[in-house]
Symmetry: C2
Subunit: 325 residues, 2 copies
């Protein structure tokens, strides 16, 4: 019998993956069991490795079935599938996105199916599954109409999670993540990168040319709160989810102007003045396709939570920087 | 320059494929061009071959990329992608459905992408993309929540068509087909097979044990009307579709009892009495997941049409049998 949780985290070197790894290692239990082992897999080494005898780092590509097979412990109880090519990159290289975001996920699901033990799987989907002409307020019943390759791949990922769950091969849960901000480190290839950069760059004393204008609105969730929600998604019993294995996470709606105002509160006019505006049509076009108002009733009923305010999100970032995230 | 339509029909030996092939050959023009050539591809030979110098039959499996490459004429202008493993079969053999319905479609789309000419593609999706807890009346904005492997594969097919179209690699159009009835020939592995059989079998003098009770309701479209709609989907200009490349076809809502009543009108009590009821839990479970009322406003606005009455549908079947379909 299973007496300890055996955990696999893909995309473990990323911003969310690193925090999630730390939180899983710090957890008393996961799914009611003490955490016995954690495999932290990513296509790149983490910038900083954690030291814990239960933790193993693995480097490889989820689009390689042999690599995926090598990271799945036959006794795995819990999988957090965060690995993926981000939105801007998947848009610029369609084949890469298909290979990693679609085929990589399918390799993983097939290997889990083969185990016969139906492990829990938490999959990070995205609000990028929505696009085109949308109603003003989106519910969880809204049709997924992605207008980017990334969004299309995430939508299909949700279908796979639902189907493998229905078949009894995994116990899956898909979370549609809003924009996660404030991200530490350098900007990545995600089209939403500006949301973090307008806060992070000036606070670090660097000038930042924002590619969208200050009225642009984004649904935001802090990295720390997001990781809490990932764990919560795992901990919920299967019957709390029922047949519908996807949910849009709660978020806070903020404009670029509100984020810059929060920067001004902390750093003053000179720091806020480091942000200038240089519209980029490529980014603007992707962002314009994203919806902005969500009815996340189901997530709230299931116990998922958003951050309390824009000021809180910016303050959480200042703490993150201090803590070395 | 393209001076004639070059047409590929997959699933061409099936009920819809054979009729579609005949109708394409009979058409004055397709997409404004005279029909120069038609490739009719299927995994099985058609029961009856049509004779037309423009027509080539090809037998092979769309899950084999080499076969797909061999049936795509580099100058192809029009593709009707009907090939697929049907619902009951895809439910009983998951891997087969994934290979044909998902991978086969991807092979085809990749080859079309490689042509660089963005041919028109009409894809037959299905109402099986809907399932689970649904509102009483479904619009085209309803989230796709398949509860069968077949429905999941069709839903993903729609996403592929939308994405390859957005990328400018094809000019795609997906139609969500209701139950097509009355089907000629033997029952197939589709879970909806009973809808046709309750009419076809007694009218042919054969007893039929219906696997669902007579109150079960289905959205029905006759094969002839369906093929008209397939051609109409092809003929619509790209900008009539806009960004949204999927539509639910109009249909007529009929109970098993209404279908049997129409049989009684034509054949009398003795013929209608050939139908008995022997509920099958496997079929009943699949069918129970299908929704029953549709707001098909968009289809109607785009010029798609349903049959006028249950009597018309049964009469069309009697004519079909006479015509040898």
């Amino acid at each position: 019998m299973t007496s300890a949780a055996s955990v696999l985290i893909t995309g473990a070197s990323g911003m969310l993956g690193r925090r999630l790894t730390a939180r899983v290692l710090a957890a008393q239990t996961l799914g009611g069991l003490p955490v016995g082992s954690v495999v932290a897999a990513d296509v790149v080494e983490p910038t900083q490795k954690m030291s814990d005898e239960r933790l193993t780092y693995r480097v490889g590509d989820v689009s390689d079935p042999a690599f995926v097979r090598s990271i799945v412990d036959p006794s795995v109880t819990s999988v957090f599938h965060l690995a993926g090519v981000v939105s801007g990159a998947a848009e610029q290289d369609f084949d890469l996105g298909q290979r990693v975001n679609l085929d990589g996920m399918r390799h993983l699901l097939e290997i889990l199916r083969g185990l016969g033990s139906a492990p829990r799987l938490v999959f990070t989907s995205s609000l990028a599954v929505y696009g085109g002409e949308l109603p003003d307020r989106l519910t969880d019943g809204q049709r997924l109409t992605p207008q980017t390759s990334y969004g299309m791949q995430k939508a299909i990922g949700e279908f796979f999670v639902a189907e493998y769950t229905r078949r009894g091969w995994i116990d899956g849960r898909s979370l549609r993540l809003p924009t996660i901000a404030i991200r530490p480190g350098a900007a990545n290839a995600a089209a939403s990168s500006f949301v973090s950069a307008v806060v992070r760059e000036p606070l670090a004393g660097r000038a930042y040319a924002c590619p969208v204008d200050e009225s642009v609105r984004s649904p935001i969730l802090s990295p720390g709160r997001c990781v809490k929600n990932l764990i919560h998604a795992h901990e919920l019993p299967s019957d709390a989810w029922g047949w519908d294995r996807s949910v849009t996470l709660p978020s806070l709606d903020a404009t670029v102007a509100e984020l810059v105002a929060a920067v001004r509160e902390i750093g003053g006019d000179e720091v806020a003045g480091l942000v200038t505006y240089q519209p980029d049509p490529f980014i603007a076009k992707i962002v314009a396709g994203w919806p902005q108002a969500f009815d996340t009733r189901r997530a709230t009923e299931l116990g998922f939570t958003a951050d309390a305010s824009v000021a809180d999100i910016v303050a959480a970032h200042v703490e993150d920087v201090r803590a070395g995230w």
